[in-house]
Every structure is written in C-alpha cells, then in structure tokens.
C-alpha cells in the first residue's frame, strides 16, 4: 500500500497456512513442535505437540545437536517418524521472523504411495496445488500400462515358442522335420562327442498309398514313427525328412553291437502287421547307418551321404536290413530283418 512504512511481509493465520500447506510444521525457538498443518496434525496426533522435533522425528544428515541454526543451514531435510509406520518426509525449512521459530513445509516425496496407504489419506489431505494426486494417477496408469505390455510380451513369447515348435515339427507324425534334423545334427557335430546317424526308408510304401489310399499311407507313417520313437532314448532325435524317409540321431551310441540291438528291435516291431480298416498294410524298412566317432569332425552332409550309401546297400541286398558304412569302398550288413518273409508273402500274392 502506498505510504505504508511498516516492514513488508505477510501475516497468515495457522488455518490459512494449513490450507496452503496441509503438511507444514512450525517450531518454536527451542525447536519444539508449535503448530502443524491439518494433514500432519492428523498423522502425529495431539501428544506430539510441544515435543522437540528430534524426539518425534529421526533427522537424516543433521548434526548431533538439533538447533534452529543447524536446521536452517540445510536447504532441505529428510525426516522419518520415530513411531510406526516410520513415514519419511522431505522438508524445506525457513526462518520465521518475529518469534525466532522455524517453519518447515513437508512433503511425502517418493514415499507418497506408502503414506497414502498407511495413513488413509485422500485428495482433501493435499493442497489443491500439490501434484501428489496427479503423481498417484500417473503411477497407477503406468502400472496398468506396464502390466498390459508385459502380458502382451508373454503372449508374443508363447506364440513365438508355438511357431518355433510348428516350424520344427512334422504335423502328420509329431516327429521333427528336416529342419529339426539339420539343427540336431549341427549340435551333435559342434559338441564333437560322437554319434550314430541312421537313415531309414519304407519299402513298398508307394504301393500302400496307391492301392489302399492316402489315409492308409498316413496311418503307416504314424505307426512307423511310433516304432522308431520308442526304439531310441527320449534325448535322441527322430525326424521325418521326406515322404517315407526318417533320420535317427543317436548321441554316443557308437558301437556296432548296440546298432545290432537297435536294428533287431526295430525290425522285430516292423514285422508285426500294420493294419488299417481291418486290412494289412504290407511295408518293410531298410536302414543305413554311419558312425561319427568323437573328436573326428566331419561335415553334416558327409555323415548323411555315408548313411545313404549304407541305405542303398540295404535296399540292394534285399531290403529289411541294417547296413553300416565302413569306408568309401566298404559297407557291412549288421542285421537282416525277419520281415523279408512278409514281403515275399506279399509279392507272391
């Protein structure tokens, strides 16, 4: 006001101050609690008034002796309630002219959510200009969006895993497909621990397909897949790599004797008739094998070519046989299966 020579300044009633700053704290000259804003008064209870500030709060970064000068030295304070629930406040202290006291405006800082929960606060407990409610809103919205994004990521991950399984699976038999076989082969070669590759091929499959229909052919493929799958360990790879061609990769099984046992097992099961709609589906199986010893790396297509040579030898010498590749000029027949008779029966029909 023009002409007014009184020192400039404000005079506010505690009520007006409380509306502007509902979490204010005013201390008298000896640092005792004199007034508190309505929200803070609710939190502290009437018993706290008149106590020294360091009896009510634990002050971080404060000197051992809490004095007015020490409080005012720091631009901001961190105060934690000594009583449960140990709410932490951030505060800015300013001197109060006249009574030698200190006015501290407090806020909940990063502990806002906990304070709202612990003290059951509502919008009415914050100043109309305080961004606390906006912050709570933002936090809840962010949490909801983040949860939605995480669920979306989970869905995509599941879909990706399913697509990968599909990309590696032969849908008819549930075995691996050629890509699965190539990956398994590459892994075995990279591990360098030695393995056996068997290339199996159905004989007379085309005739079953042509004379009894595709449904019968599919049934034969599924039955054959089950026989091969059950003949090896769960960790070994069995794939259908073509119409009636299968590849088995057996980790570590690198002796001819174990191959003989495996061949007898497979041929024994293949000898039992596969029936479809009450009719016998007469097929046989020829197998070529190549052993890749540990620590002697060869290319994957070389291993496949060696098994192919042995498979050709099995077919050439009358089918239902398991032949082992020995060298570029030698193969050795390990098993001659009993199904030869079934085949002969079929041919004599």
């Amino acid at each position: 006001m023009d002409g007014d020579l009184r020192p400039s300044g404000f005079t506010l009633t505690p009520d007006a101050l409380g509306r502007l700053m509902p979490v204010f704290l005013s201390l008298d000259a000896s640092c005792r609690l004199a007034e508190a804003g309505p929200t803070l008064a609710k939190l502290l209870g009437p018993a706290a008034m008149g106590k020294r500030i360091d009896e009510v709060f634990f002050l971080r970064h404060s000197p051992r002796e809490v004095t007015r000068a020490a409080l005012l030295r720091r631009p901001s304070l961190l105060l934690t309630l000594r009583a449960s629930p140990h709410t932490t406040f951030k505060g800015v202290p300013v001197p109060v002219a006249g009574n030698g006291g200190v006015l501290i405006n407090l806020s909940f800082g990063v502990g806002l959510r906990e304070a709202v929960r612990d003290h059951g606060l509502s919008a009415a407990d914050f100043a109309g200009t305080d961004l606390a409610i906006e912050l709570l809103y933002l936090f809840e919205a962010k949490t909801a969006v983040m949860g939605e994004l995480r669920r979306m990521a989970d869905r995509l991950k599941t879909a990706k895993a399913r697509a990968e399984i599909q990309a590696y699976t032969d849908p008819l038999t549930g075995l691996g497909n050629r890509r699965a076989m190539e990956d398994a082969l590459a892994r075995l070669l990279a591990a360098g621990t030695g393995f056996t590759l068997l290339h199996a091929d159905l004989d007379f499959f085309k005739q079953v397909n042509d004379t009894m229909g595709h449904a019968a052919g599919d049934h034969v493929l599924r039955a054959t897949a089950a026989i091969l799958r059950n003949a090896v360990r769960a960790g070994d790879s069995v794939s259908r790599v073509g119409g009636d061609e299968f590849v088995l990769l057996i980790a570590g099984a690198t002796s001819a004797a174990s191959l003989v046992r495996l061949g007898r097992d497979i041929f024994g099961k293949m000898a039992r008739p596969i029936t479809f709609a009450g009719r016998n589906c007469p097929v046989a199986m020829s197998i070529g094998a190549a052993i890749v010893p540990a620590g002697r790396p060869i290319r994957g297509d070389t291993a496949l070519a060696r098994a192919d040579v042995a498979l050709y030898a099995s077919k050439h010498s009358g089918r239902s046989r398991l032949t082992l590749w020995v060298s570029d000029s030698e193969t050795r027949e390990l098993v001659a299966g009993p199904q030869q008779r079934a085949t002969e029966r079929r041919q004599s029909r």
Partner: protein, 208 residues
C-alpha cells in the same frame, strides 16, 4: 535380477567389446542356448545366478577383474549416448554435484516408483566432513559399489567437478564374489566444485 539390469550389462558388453565377445561370454557362461538369440528382455525377471555367471564369464573372456568391468559399466551408463535417458534421470537429482549426492538417498525410492520389481538396494549418503561424503550401498546386488564408483566418476565429470573417489568393502567381506549380505562403501571427496564446464542439462525435454 531384473531384465533392465541384465540388458544394460549386455548392451555395455556389446557396445564396448563387440557382438562376438558377447557371444563368447554367453557360451562361457553356458547361457547361449538358454537365452533368446536377441539376448535379455528388459521387462523379464531372470535368475540372479545368470548375472553372476555372465560377469564371471566376461571377466575371464576379457582377462579383466570383474571390479574394473563393473566400474566401466557404471561410467558407460552415464556417459554413453545410448544411455542418455539414464543420465537425465540422475541429473534430476540436483543442480549441483552435492545436491546430486544427497539425492542418492532417494534413488531407490524413485526407481521403485518407476519399476516396482527392480529391487534395487537402498543407497544412503552421509556427510563425513566438509566436502567429504560416504555412500553406503545396501546388500542385494553384489558389486553395486563398483558400478556406483563408475557412475559417480562420470557424474562428477558431468557436473564439471573434481572429486576423488574410493571403494572400500566393509570389514571381512569379499565382494563382489557373492556375499549378498554385504554393504559396500564409497568415499567421496569433492576438491574443486567448478573444475571444468558442466555438461548441458535442461529439465525440459521436447514434448511429443
């Protein structure tokens, strides 16, 4: 450990030492086939042991102590252009380096507001003498002290402050080899608050 931490470690190793080194580290840690080909997902939670295994494998692959790798990671988090967002979040802490140091008290709370399952240990700063501070890193992330050492060095540069920093493990502790109950302490002495020009920082960003 939260994917954000693992992803930061992955980005640091890839950027600093190349993708081939990262592949070697994964192979040595035995994680090559257990991790997606793209590496860590920022919003997934992973077994804590994976982080330890990757750190150990990185140390062996690069023939460097883990402590020095972790410190470089801390520096990278602040000074790499790719991590500009993180530097900004740290600079929110205050106008001066001392303000920033005091804001570390609130870093755990602020990080929990942003990413509730980050599980960052509590940091607490105390003023030990004029211009001298001690930062205590709570337990939970073994080696965090070394990362913070790199972060603080880079932040001192960012503020244009000359500061001398030291990492001291608490007594009888053998960090970062996995004692999860261990506190790590960093001592900070600010020698020249206006040693060089500070890097530009503006609270406002371009509005979308």
């Amino acid at each position: 450990m939260h994917g954000l931490i693992n992803k930061a470690l992955q980005t640091f190793l890839c950027d600093s030492f190349g993708r081939a080194t990262w592949d070697d580290v994964l192979a040595r840690a035995g994680l090559r086939h257990r991790l997606d080909p793209d590496g860590f997902e920022a919003m997934n939670i992973y077994d804590d042991r994976w982080t330890q295994e990757i750190l150990a494998a990185a140390g062996e692959t690069l023939r460097r102590p883990q402590e020095s790798l972790l410190e470089d990671l801390g520096t990278y988090l602040v000074s790499s252009e790719r991590m500009e967002n993180l530097r900004r979040l740290l600079r929110f802490g205050g106008v001066t380096f001392t303000d920033f140091l005091y804001s570390l008290d609130e870093l755990q709370g602020r990080s929990a507001l942003a990413v509730p399952d980050l599980d960052m240990p509590v940091l607490s700063i105390s003023c030990t003498a004029e211009d001298s501070f001690a930062l205590t890193c709570g337990p939970g992330w073994p080696g965090l002290g070394h990362v913070m050492l790199g972060v603080l060095r880079a932040m001192a540069d960012d503020y244009g402050v000359l500061a001398v920093l030291d990492h001291c493990d608490t007594q009888g502790c053998t960090c970062p080899t996995g004692d999860r109950t261990c506190f790590e302490i960093i001592t900070i002495r600010v020698h020249d608050p206006a040693h060089q020009a500070a890097r530009q920082f503006d609270l406002a960003t371009e509005l979308l």
